[in-house]
């Protein structure tokens, strides 16, 4: 299809005729404080919480979940539900669905131009992306503080800072918050911000669903955080019954928080998947879709299809706590294995929801800094899709120890081992791209190398855990704990940080201080490995996780891991300082396309205009033709905004680029 570059007729006509009447902006979205924003959301949440709690006590004042405990789960649940409704109403999410009942379309959203748009409902995917950046970092640092508490407790096997009960609740809160955060850490910030730019679209398919998913995600953070003042929950992030059924009101926060995070994830995945399928620019065939977008598409598919079972599992758990159903109580006809199956049917795809975006980031960044085309592009796509599909068929390896029919074990052992094959594709493609490359050792590239290093350890330590005998041996210990920290923190979070360093100049128009970011990388990489590698040994020596005491002989290794963990925590503080220094204290304008990337997202103006591209680009080829003589031009921008074409002269190494 061809896109005309002529100015639209309307522009000419409007110059002579009276301008068409602009639709009114709702008072709720106008600049100033007399509108809807984070403050009104907080007020709405507080009012909703109070109202729900009052109503719950009103209808069930003589009810207590545990006899004589004074615990009224109905009031607690209604308080949380109404609190979330109040939060969404306060920020303005409900305006549009309510207006539609009367057949009206929603009022325009993005009229606010100053910084306050970041604390309001916005239909601009770039604003939502940056909102997500701040939110996931808040999630990350909150859960990270809890990790510091865990490592402090483990400094000594005999001297305790916390009681055993408090310790397990800290572990549970840490694990749950980290898993919630990690499930959105790339799709939320980078997926929302970059996908439309990378596919040549001016918008998301369903921007209001996108905004809804973000504000529900933040509500999920508040709900799961509320578990702490409610007394916590003792189940770990997996929330197994029957312990979950015996737990206090903090468990309701866990169940409800996880359920609404599931809805937020499904909504985000739904919107992004539909955007990629339908809003690709002309010429953006599937073979030209960037590897990062493929990774996000595979992840979005998983988010959309896997999270409903989490929602159902959470709903059943809440019903057990409130109306005394017995889904997970074997003595009354239920089954604790029902939770395990429903949870892990979501939980194992969840693992790849966390891994796939990391693969996508690395595959996107490697060619830029290797100055070579991405090796075997289709194999990357096959790997990402293969992992996504297979991830639905492996969940029972999580319950090898819990009572699965032994005859079923080999099947799930095999499917789990199979998934290492498409994962291996990503490594092979990475190595193929780096082979004989003139590598630029920039900070984002260093994070890519760290990703491969860490994920290799995480992958190798994981693949044989699918073998039943090994699984039986290492299950529930620090070996498994170290394995998944290597894959999630060492893989996904390192890739995310690399992606942030790479794309922040595009997002903010500012340069990130190189010296600080380099120091931050090395401290993070070194202390990450010094923290978690000893844990592999600790685990093989038999230390169980979620237990606050251990054999005295393991004190040295534990102390070493703890001190390294504190240093790792300090490296994250250094990251916060790096951002504060580069973006606020000493901001320096970033050069256009500082990495000489061929990615479409870098070819638009900087800062990125509200509608991304002045003219919809027509895509000519894929964005990986680095150092190729006579390579076709990436896209025809129709005389519109291309940073390369309209704003700056060709870079010094333009010939190398092509």
């Amino acid at each position: 299809m061809s896109i005309s570059t002529e100015q639209p007729n309307e522009v000419v006509r409007r110059s002579a005729a009276p301008p068409p009447k602009r639709r009114a902006i709702s008072w709720t979205q106008r600049p100033g404080w007399m509108s809807q924003h984070l403050g009104t959301a907080l007020v709405g949440a507080a009012l909703g919480y109070w109202l729900g709690h009052w109503f719950g006590n009103y209808i069930s004042s003589d009810y207590s979940y545990v006899a004589n405990s004074g615990q009224n789960s109905i009031a607690d649940t209604l308080a949380l539900v109404m609190g979330v409704v109040g939060w969404l109403a306060g920020i303005g999410v409900l305006n549009y669905p309510l207006a539609k009942i009367a057949g009206r379309e929603g009022k325009e959203l993005e009229d606010v131009k100053d910084w306050t748009r970041y604390v309001r409902l916005s239909s601009d995917h770039k604003v939502v992306g940056l909102q997500y950046v701040v939110s996931v970092l808040l999630f990350f640092f909150t859960a990270g503080l809890l990790a510091m508490a865990i490592r402090t407790e483990l400094l000594s096997p005999t001297f305790h800072m916390f009681s055993a009960d408090t310790y397990i609740k800290i572990v549970s809160e840490h694990g749950t918050m980290m898993m919630m955060m990690a499930s959105s850490i790339v799709v939320g910030p980078l997926g929302n911000y970059l996908v439309p730019l990378m596919i040549g679209s001016r918008r998301m398919a369903f921007p209001r669903i996108e905004a809804f998913s973000f504000w529900l995600f933040t509500a999920g953070y508040l709900v799961i955080f509320s578990a702490l003042p409610y007394g916590g929950f003792p189940t770990g992030w997996t929330g197994y019954a029957p312990l979950a059924n015996q737990a206090g009101p903090g468990m309701v926060s866990y169940l409800f928080g996880f359920a609404i995070i599931g809805v937020a994830m499904a909504a985000a995945g739904f919107n992004i998947a539909i955007t990629i399928v339908n809003y690709r620019a002309p010429g953006m065939t599937w073979s030209r879709v960037p590897a990062f977008v493929w990774g996000i598409l595979a992840t979005a598919g998983l988010m959309t299809l896997a999270t409903p079972s989490l929602f159902v599992a959470g709903l059943f758990g809440i019903l057990d706590h409130t109306v005394l159903t017995t889904f997970y109580v074997a003595e009354h006809g239920g089954s604790s294995y029902l939770w395990e199956n429903l949870f892990w049917f979501f939980g194992h795809p969840e693992v790849y929801i966390m891994a796939l975006p990391g693969f996508g980031i690395v595959a996107e960044l490697l060619p830029v800094f290797a100055r070579k085309p991405l090796f075997a592009f289709k194999v990357v796509v096959a790997g990402e899709l293969g992992v996504a599909v297979l991830s639905f068929f492996v969940w029972q390896h999580h319950i090898f120890q819990s009572g699965i029919d032994p005859s079923m074990r080999p099947l799930y052992m095999l499917t789990t081992e199979l998934i290492s094959i498409p994962t291996g594709f990503i490594f092979l493609v990475g190595m193929g791209t780096l082979y004989k490359a003139k590598i630029r050792f920039t900070v984002p590239m260093l994070f890519c190398f760290a990703f491969f290093f860490n994920f290799l350890i995480g992958g190798v330590s994981g693949v044989f855990q699918s073998d039943v005998p090994v699984n039986v041996t290492v299950h529930g210990g620090f070996f498994v704990l170290s394995h998944f920290h290597y894959t999630i923190l060492g893989g996904l979070v390192f890739a995310f940080f690399g992606g942030l360093y790479y794309w922040l100049p595009l997002m903010t128009g500012l340069e990130i201080n190189k010296k600080l970011s380099l120091i931050q990388f090395w401290t993070m990489f070194v202390f990450f490995n010094l923290t978690f590698f000893p844990m592999l040994i600790i685990g093989l020596l038999g230390q169980p996780r979620r237990v606050f005491t251990y054999a005295r002989a393991l004190t040295g290794l534990n102390d070493f891991a703890s001190v390294s963990a504190f240093c790792l925590g300090a490296s994250f503080l250094l990251f916060a300082w790096t951002l504060a220094y580069s973006l606020v204290i000493n901001p320096k304008k970033s050069p256009l396309n500082p990495w000489d990337s061929l990615g479409l997202e870098w070819q638009t103006a900087q800062p990125v205009p509200v509608h991304n591209f002045e003219r919809i680009p027509v895509i000519m080829t894929d964005p990986y033709h680095y150092s190729e003589e006579g390579a076709p031009k990436l896209a025809d921008f129709g005389g519109g905004s291309s940073a390369r074409e309209s704003s700056v002269p060709p870079t010094d190494n333009e010939t190398v680029l092509r």
Binding site: E10, A16, G103, F206, S309, L324, T325, H332, F345
Partner: protein, 239 residues
């Protein structure tokens, strides 16, 4: 090229142009300064998003309902403590049938309405649609009211628990379907005013085409509800 001076009787352009401008802006499907080709391109993407979005939504909902089905058959086959369904107690059959028939009726009304809508019969679409909304609301009321009429406590058996869980999900399903139907109808009424009397059923304006895509997607979802309700009727009331 059309200029304002050549259209003195139509400030802002001809009715067709006004229609195109207004509907583009109001439906927010396109960049306001886009060329006509760009606006058409983005509009087609928007219609495609409606089509694929409704299918993906159904896929997502299938996983939700499949989780309920899994729980049902898992607990049934486990039959822990012989408490799957003691004394073969079931939820009230007449409520189940009533809800099912109402949902089937709503789905048929949506389908009939859509068929007539495509042919430009405004009244048939409106009457069938509002009858469907009414039927959906009654079904929702009955589903909620049934909670007070079940002959068991929620924790008395595995069947009782899963029925309560299913009924909650079904309330959500009926509400979602009815809301979609109602908002589509309300939109079609309002569009007629916006289009200045042009029939949305036959108009080529962006908003009207968007509405037709929406009606199609909504009808598809109601067909899905009818189908899944048949399965759940069999599971919970007859099986």
């Amino acid at each position: 090229m059309t200029t304002a001076s050549s259209q003195p009787n139509f400030p802002g352009g001809t009715p067709e142009e006004r229609e195109s401008e207004m509907t583009t802006a109001s439906s927010q499907t396109s960049f306001p300064r886009g060329t006509p080709e760009e606006r058409e391109f983005e509009f087609r993407a928007h219609v495609g998003a409606m089509w694929s979005g409704s299918r993906l939504f159904i896929a997502m909902y299938t996983f939700l309902l499949a989780s309920v089905c899994f729980a049902y058959f898992y607990l049934r086959s486990s039959n822990n403590a012989q408490l799957w369904r003691p004394h073969n107690v079931t939820a009230p059959l007449y409520y189940g049938w009533a809800i099912y028939i109402l949902l089937l009726f709503t789905a048929l009304m949506a389908l009939f309405g859509q068929t007539r809508f495509r042919k430009g019969s405004v009244n048939d679409w409106q009457i069938a649609g509002w009858a469907g909304v009414l039927s959906g609301l009654v079904a929702l009321f009955l589903q909620i009211f049934e909670f007070t009429k079940v002959p068991f406590n929620p924790g008395s058996s595995a069947y009782a628990s899963i029925f309560i869980g299913f009924a909650c999900v079904n309330c959500l399903t009926i509400f979602a379907g009815t809301y979609w139907l109602e908002t589509t109808l309300a939109r079609s009424l309002r569009i007629r005013k916006e289009l200045g009397g042009t029939n949305p059923e036959l108009s080529t304006a962006f908003t009207a085409r968007s509405l037709r895509a929406n009606v199609s997607a909504m009808t598809y979802f109601w067909g899905y509800i009818a189908l899944s309700s048949t399965l759940f009727l069999w599971m919970f009331y007859r099986f």
